[in-house]
């Protein structure tokens, strides 16, 4: 059963075995697995329950519905926009379906029992099967991604096709606004219905406000029914108290860290909310003579891994994962520099530009703090990450020139326009300072990390009955798209949780 907090008129108290906070990749997986194991499950979701008929392919209409703060969440200095999903299915509703296992070098480097690559492989396999993960057919590579492929191949760099969880995709290109054609095999389409079929109860428009703890043990969650006003308004309504034998935090590395701190959960490691990684990314645009129309087709189907190494050496500045980053008009306008007539002239290049992004396998550690009821995301790039970011941006420019770009625009506040590959040194000369260029992050991780805040099972250290099953778990950056790893982590944590409740 999926119900809405809008329909809860009076304060209510519910009982179950497991209350799951958040219905994204991790939470939906835990809800399904726990329900299938015969446990009574209630999953709470702050956002609404939307479906293909609600996805209008219009940015101004979908941003308030699908993203925290309407897409406006940023780090506290405004330097990094942190795009995070809301609504049943979480960020799996708006992501671009990239499915990639975390590299063995990363997982094995954690040195955590049960989390080595070979130990996590069975969990990945379940997810890949259930979500129909498969490589994108080469014939579906759109022109923007073909530019990336062409440049990488001309340079002789490493790269290749990506795998996705999509079936029946018509290539509309509107993945980031929700799939109107229901082709995404995600938490919303696959896991939540399976959880409900197994008896789970899902309450959308309902924000968890406190984890309830008694005598060192979680006994449930206090939540608030919401009227989201056709967006993310969150007008508070009735109190929803859910008593449970276990509480599973799965509201993202920001949301779960916020809830843990608001609830005053014990923090013997002193690491709650800390260790935040973001995969911050910078976009670089190439202007071509040919028509690209990058908004058509599958947005991200190819990757370049030439500048992505996973060794821990302090001087490893090759830590950029390069992918395409095309946007619809509002997103594009926001990422191009300047304003006024000059900006509008840049916008007119839209059909002829290809956009790549250098997404950083970051070592900088930020944190999630609390301001009243809201999160404050604190994060600053350290010197090594600045070097790696700048190298990644230069690599994007090099790929674009190799693919035939006649100009490359690096979107600093004062735009840097390069006319040939011989000018790449100008990127390093400009470097990076906060807000210049603007960075975007879509992968917050690490604020309730394994081996620190929670044990290797995902169980809270310092309070019984609290579990974590989202990107908060990862003690380092993954260096690639995290959704598959979050689903897999959810599957693994769910197994331990079920075992603990038996």
């Amino acid at each position: 059963m999926i119900e809405s907090g809008r329909d809860i008129a009076r304060d209510v108290t519910l009982d179950c075995d497991v209350v799951v906070v958040g219905t994204g990749a991790g939470g939906a997986m835990v809800a399904r697995e726990a329900a299938r194991a015969g446990l009574e499950v209630i999953a709470l979701e702050e956002g609404g329950h939307l479906g293909p008929r609600d996805f209008t392919q219009r940015e101004d209409e979908m941003l308030p519905l699908l993203f925290q703060d309407g897409g406006g969440r940023t780090t506290d200095d405004g330097a990094v926009t942190v795009l995070q999903g809301r609504g049943v299915g979480g960020s799996t509703v708006h992501n671009t379906n990239l499915c990639k296992r975390a590299p063995a070098a990363v997982l094995d480097g954690w040195k955590l029992a049960g989390w080595r690559a070979d130990e996590l492989a069975p969990h990945y396999a379940v997810v890949e099967h259930d979500l129909s993960v498969a490589p994108i057919d080469e014939s579906r590579v759109n022109r923007n991604n073909a530019i990336l492929r062409r440049g990488v191949e001309k340079l002789g760099w490493k790269g290749g096709i990506l795998s996705h969880n999509r079936v029946g995709c018509v290539g509309s290109g509107f993945c980031e606004l929700g799939c109107s054609f229901d082709a995404k095999q995600n938490a919303l389409k696959v896991l939540i219905p399976a959880a409900v079929a197994a008896g789970a109860r899902v309450i959308s428009d309902c924000r968890a406000e406190r984890v309830l703890v008694k005598h060192g043990r979680a006994i449930g969650v206090q939540a608030r029914a919401l009227d989201n006003g056709g967006g993310s308004v969150g007008r508070p309504g009735a109190t929803v108290t859910v008593h449970a034998r276990a509480v599973c935090l799965a509201g993202s590395a920001v949301g779960s860290a916020l809830l843990a701190q608001k609830s005053g959960l014990p923090d013997p490691s002193g690491r709650v909310g800390r260790g935040l990684h973001l995969h911050p990314g910078a976009a670089v645009a190439g202007v071509f003579d040919e028509i690209i129309e990058g908004w058509n087709g599958i947005p991200q189907s190819w990757e370049c891994t030439e500048k992505l190494r996973f060794d821990d050496a302090p001087d490893n500045d090759d830590r950029a994962w390069i992918i395409t980053a095309f946007a619809h008009p509002i997103g594009l306008a926001s990422s191009l520099p300047g304003f006024g007539a000059a900006h509008m002239t840049l916008m007119r290049l839209y059909p002829r530009i290809a956009v790549l992004a250098a997404m950083l396998h970051d070592r900088s550690e930020g944190r999630v703090a609390v301001d009243g009821e809201r999160p404050v995301v604190k994060y600053a790039l350290d010197g090594g990450d600045v070097r790696a970011l700048v190298r990644g941006m230069a690599a994007c420019a090099e790929i674009l020139f190799a693919a035939g770009a006649r100009q490359v625009i690096v979107p600093y506040a004062e735009p840097l326009v390069l006319s040939s590959v011989s000018e790449l040194g100008r990127v390093a000369a400009r470097g990076y300072r906060p807000l210049d260029p603007l960075l975007t992050a879509v992968h917050p991780m690490g604020t309730l990390a394994l081996g620190r805040v929670v044990d290797e099972r995902g169980a809270w250290r310092g309070a019984d009955g609290v579990w974590v099953a989202d990107g908060s778990l990862f003690p380092t950056s993954l260096g690639g798209p995290p959704q598959l790893s979050i689903y897999a982590a959810g599957h693994k944590v769910a197994g331990h949780l079920v075992e603990a409740l038996r």
């Binding site: 703060d69 506290d76 129309e293 008009p329 926001s334 002239t345």
Partner: protein
């Protein structure tokens, strides 16, 4: 992408600036918006609508005669609709930002003219001032203003022919 969460409340400098802007904002009047438009507003006050409108006219200054004006697509009205769908704390931030840009010249540039009363070239200079400011709070404010204006403009089907964008596959819904 859009508003900057707590952007004015971040740090002492931001707090002082916001306090000053709010005081000045309350002490002045003289904003006239037609009643029909004012009645439609959901989140912004008439004054804030007019400030957003003035900002949008500069941020979206056309580079050719084929570009619809910011007024023609009612950028400020679209921003109002959008902001009304955001959490109250974010709405407050947007409104405070608009107050600050209106009266910020008094605080930052030493003259008393409101943004809405400046000539276009002076308004551009103010925006560049924000963009290049050594104060993070102002650079953040500039990005937020810019993005709100872009949202209000490039959402409109009438702007898409300028950039060759074919638009959604789905027809626009009524209402």
């Amino acid at each position: 992408m859009l508003t900057r969460r707590g952007f004015l409340r971040a740090g002492l400098v931001g707090g002082v600036l916001l306090g000053g802007a709010a005081l000045v904002g309350r002490s002045l009047s003289g904003y006239h918006l037609d009643e029909a438009t004012a009645r439609r507003l959901r989140a912004l006050s008439p004054k804030e609508y007019l400030v957003m409108q003035a900002v949008a006219r500069r941020v979206l200054a056309p580079d050719g005669g084929d570009a619809p004006s910011a007024d023609a697509v009612d950028v400020a009205g679209a921003v109002d609709v959008y902001v009304a769908k955001l959490p109250p704390a974010v709405q407050r931030d947007v409104r405070a930002l608009l107050q600050l840009v209106e009266h910020g010249s008094s605080l930052f540039r030493g003259h008393v003219a409101r943004f809405t009363h400046l000539a276009p070239a002076e308004q551009d200079a103010v925006l560049v001032d924000w963009q290049r400011s050594s104060l993070t709070v102002r650079r953040r404010g500039f990005q937020a203003l810019r993005t709100l204006a872009f949202l209000g403009y490039w959402r409109d089907d009438r702007t898409w022919p300028l950039i060759g964008y074919s638009g959604p596959m789905l027809p626009k819904r009524a209402g």
